[in-house]
């Protein structure tokens, strides 16, 4: 029981990170119907900016956890958002109206480009860092096994919940959110009614990138080590989360992230840690085959 609870706590933390990345996939897919393959790389860049941010904080003497984290999160969100904007502007926008797979191929190109750009600029070796929140407390002990919750896990879950709540409000109750939902339903009609479609799509990428940056910062703090390749696997897992939850649906992305976190952690905890990634890929394949709309998604009607 204690072991199970511990795994559950770890799984929720991991699921929160995946959920944050998954929102970026699901929003972009919802609005322009493309898989933003480079989103995992945006997450990786967010992690790198956070790493450097924490180092600068330490240099400036801001050692205290809360201030450093808030500063780094803000900086990482801002600068990663520029990546989101620039990628959309240069690699995707010119392709609107091109053949259907063009944006995906372009996105793969962006992904390769960003990965190797970071490798060139920062080196290929794994980078340790982000140890700003230490310690934790024992929840309870049973069967000679301490169930431990770290402060970091609490920080991650709290930040994620706050961001997701704020984000749902943004989509549901602000003019920007209304414009996004309008574009999602019918881009041409929205533009006829005075919605600036290009701007709305850009902002969607900016928001997705900002959330990915938060996920990157969390990932860095949680694992304490990053390299230029983390975006690939995390990106695919988050995409799986988005598909599992129902692509295009925001609560679905959060639910999917949580489920992927649970599957990965419990598979590693009870079966074999070597095959935990296989389990996630298998889930992706199975969901796409048997329920392509995901758990909370709407069925898509094919228009001729």
């Amino acid at each position: 029981m204690a072991y199970f609870t511990q795994q559950l706590i770890n799984a929720i933390t991991l699921g929160a990170i995946y959920g944050l990345i998954a929102i970026g996939y699901t929003m972009v897919y919802g609005i322009i119907g493309m898989i933003n393959f480079a989103h995992g790389e945006v997450f990786m860049i967010g992690a790198f900016i956070s790493l450097i941010g924490f180092m600068i904080c330490a240099m400036l003497g801001i050692g205290s956890g809360a201030v450093a984290i808030i500063l780094v999160l803000l900086v990482a969100m801002t600068f990663t958002a520029i990546y989101g904007w620039a990628i959309e502007r240069t690699a995707y926008r010119p392709l609107r109206g091109s053949f259907k797979l063009a944006p995906l191929i372009s996105a793969i190109g962006v992904s390769i480009l960003l990965q190797n750009y970071v490798q060139l600029a920062q080196g290929a070796r794994p980078k340790p860092g982000g140890h700003v929140v230490e310690g934790g407390f024992n929840l309870f002990s049973a069967d000679g096994f301490d169930v431990r919750v770290t402060w970091l896990q609490i920080v991650i879950v709290v930040v994620t919940v706050v961001l997701m709540a704020g984000f749902s409000w943004l989509i549901a109750a602000t003019p920007l959110g209304r414009q996004q939902r309008a574009c999602e339903q019918d881009m041409k009609m929205a533009s006829l009614l005075g919605v600036n479609v290009d701007r709305t799509i850009s902002l969607t990428f900016v928001m997705g990138a900002a959330l990915a940056a938060v996920a990157g910062a969390m990932f860095l703090m949680y694992y304490g080590i990053i390299d230029f390749f983390i975006g690939f696997l995390a990106g695919i897992k988050a995409f799986t989360a988005a598909v599992l939850g129902g692509i295009g649906s925001l609560p679905g992305a959060m639910l999917g992230g949580l489920l992927i976190g649970l599957i990965e952690v419990f598979w590693a905890g009870y079966f074999s840690s070597e095959y935990k990634d296989v389990a996630v890929f298998a889930i992706l394949v199975l969901v796409l085959i048997f329920r392509p709309t995901g758990l909370l998604g709407k069925p898509e009607i094919e228009k001729v």
Binding site: M34, I35, I45, F48, I49, L51, I52, G53, M55, I56, F79, I82, W85, A86, T90, A91, P94, L95, S98, F99, K100, L101, A102, P103, L104, I105, S106, I108, G109, V110, I112, L113, L114, Q115, N116, Y117, V118, L120, A121, Q122, G123, R125, P128, G129, F232, I236, F239, V243, S272, E274, Y275, D277, V278, F281, A282, L284, V285, I289, P292, E302
Partner: protein
């Protein structure tokens, strides 16, 4: 130009600002290890120079775009001169960066002139598109060069190694072209079938002592059955979902090979795989018990190059088989159904074509050729491990097909030479090679989505006399 100049300056300033924002953390601070932990140093001078170059580069591009040729040319030449000059910039990379920015501006300026010239030259007096005629002769010429090449003095070890490598990618590109170019299915896990072929040969030869030639068809069949097995459930999916699922399959196969140590020896890989033989003769200095070496059989002195030349001809033949097969099957009903499906799936369904079965054949045929190439790869390398079958391989093969122009056979050859050959020749570029790769994929999609050699004409026409170029863009 007065008020416009302000506009150009503002635009260039914004671009430079965005570039500075992008690079500020990732380039401006360089982290490195110091035994215990990390530290960083600043690279703001480099960053500043790059941003200034971007400012002037963008200015030149917008001037050129609006037809202000001379200012743009001067600006481009100035940038190029700074890049090429002996002025000490902080790094060689910056010299290249600034110089290439200048080159880009100059190219952009003369592009409209060149384009006009090309358009005039594109149609010969008889109205035959010159591009097609060139492509036809280019193919024959390249083939002749490829056949003769090993017999010329050019064929030293390094060149032959590279030629074998390029041909392997040409074959993989042709194989993937069936799936992506003809059938319009984006397969991001193509390397999985390559891996199946390679491991089939590696296991059958090291465990059961089977020879290359008897395993080759088996490896192809093995890969094709994997293609069927994996393709059957997923081919109903839409284009982009299919792409992601194939990627998932590719990774699953790699992870299984990595972790199923009893079968594949895990990350340590399989070594001492026997090479291919010619009528039982081995290509080695000394033959094992009961066989002879090629040098003994021919009565010529042994040389290490013989093996490479032999491998070269094998892969050349395999690649040509792939090409020939593709050229023929495009004209058969199934090939025509592939192309029809690529253009419009709904219309195909209405005409009674079973999309799943049709896609499945494309998938399996493509996989089969990857299997052939895989077992050749294992025989050539004599050592394989899951390391060789990562997603990036799939992406490279896809980049070759995309760059070449989806569906174009000769385009694949050119793209393979460009993407595999050039970086190998310029070894120094090694680290920048993948950056250029990614950039090329994006630029091709943005500026020339139909590839270097655009070939999206149907293979078969109802009315051969009418030559109305139909520019359809739909792929999925």
């Amino acid at each position: 130009m007065g008020p416009r100049l302000q506009h150009y300056l503002k635009d260039a300033g914004l671009t430079a600002l965005v570039a500075a924002g992008l690079a500020f953390f990732i380039v401006g601070f360089r982290t490195y290890d110091i035994g215990k932990g990390l530290t960083f140093d600043y690279q703001f001078v480099d960053l500043g120079i790059a941003v200034v170059a971007i400012f002037f580069g963008r200015l030149g591009l917008s001037l050129a775009a609006d037809g202000h040729d001379w200012p743009a040319l001067v600006l481009g030449a100035a940038l190029g001169a700074v890049g090429a000059s002996p002025i000490k910039l902080p790094s060689t990379f910056l010299h290249w960066f600034v110089g290439l920015a200048g080159l880009l501006v100059v190219l952009r300026t003369i592009w409209p002139w060149a384009n006009r010239g090309l358009a005039a030259a594109r149609h010969s007096p008889r109205g035959v598109p010159v591009g097609q005629a060139i492509a036809k002769w280019l193919g024959a010429g390249l083939l002749a060069v490829a056949v003769v090449m090993p017999m010329t003095p050019l064929a030293d070890q390094k060149t032959m190694d590279l030629a074998v490598l390029i041909l392997t990618y040409v074959m993989l590109g042709w194989g993937l072209n069936i799936v992506v170019g003809l059938a319009g299915l984006l397969d991001l896990g193509y390397v999985a079938f390559y891996a199946v072929g390679a491991y089939s040969y590696a296991l059958l030869s090291t465990q059961f002592g089977m020879s290359f030639w008897s395993v080759l068809p088996l490896a192809g069949m093995m890969a094709a059955s994997f293609g069927l097995l994996l393709g059957f459930p997923v081919l109903r999916l839409r284009g982009d979902y299919l792409a992601i699922v194939t990627l998932g399959f590719g990774e699953i196969i790699r992870l299984v090979l990595l972790n199923w140590v009893d079968l594949s020896n895990g990350p340590a890989g399989i070594g001492s795989i026997p090479g291919p033989t010619l009528f039982g003769a081995v290509f080695a200095e000394t033959a094992p018990e009961g066989s002879q070496t090629f040098a003994e059989m021919m009565g010529i002195p042994f040389s290490g190059n013989q093996r490479l030349i032999f491998l070269y001809y094998i892969i050349l033949a395999l690649a040509l088989v792939t090409n020939f097969f593709t050229q023929r099957i495009r004209r058969l009903p199934v090939g025509r159904a592939w192309e029809a499906l690529r253009e419009d799936e709904t219309a195909c369904k209405a005409l009674g074509i079973n999309p799943t079965n049709t896609k499945l054949t494309a998938f399996a045929v493509g996989a089969m050729f990857a299997g052939f190439a895989g077992s050749f790869f294992a025989a050539k390398q004599r050592f394989i491990s899951p390391e060789s079958f990562t997603f990036i391989e799939s992406a490279i093969i896809l980049a070759i097909v995309v760059l070449g122009g989806m569906g174009s056979q000769i385009g694949v050859v050119l793209a393979a030479v460009l993407l595999i050959g050039l970086p190998e020749w310029f070894r120094d570029l090694g680290a920048y090679r993948m950056v250029a790769f990614g950039l090329a994929m994006v630029l091709i999609m943005v500026f020339r989505p139909r590839g270097l050699i655009a070939h999206r004409e149907p293979s078969v026409r109802l009315h051969p006399a009418r030559r109305a170029p139909v520019h359809r863009k739909g792929l999925a």
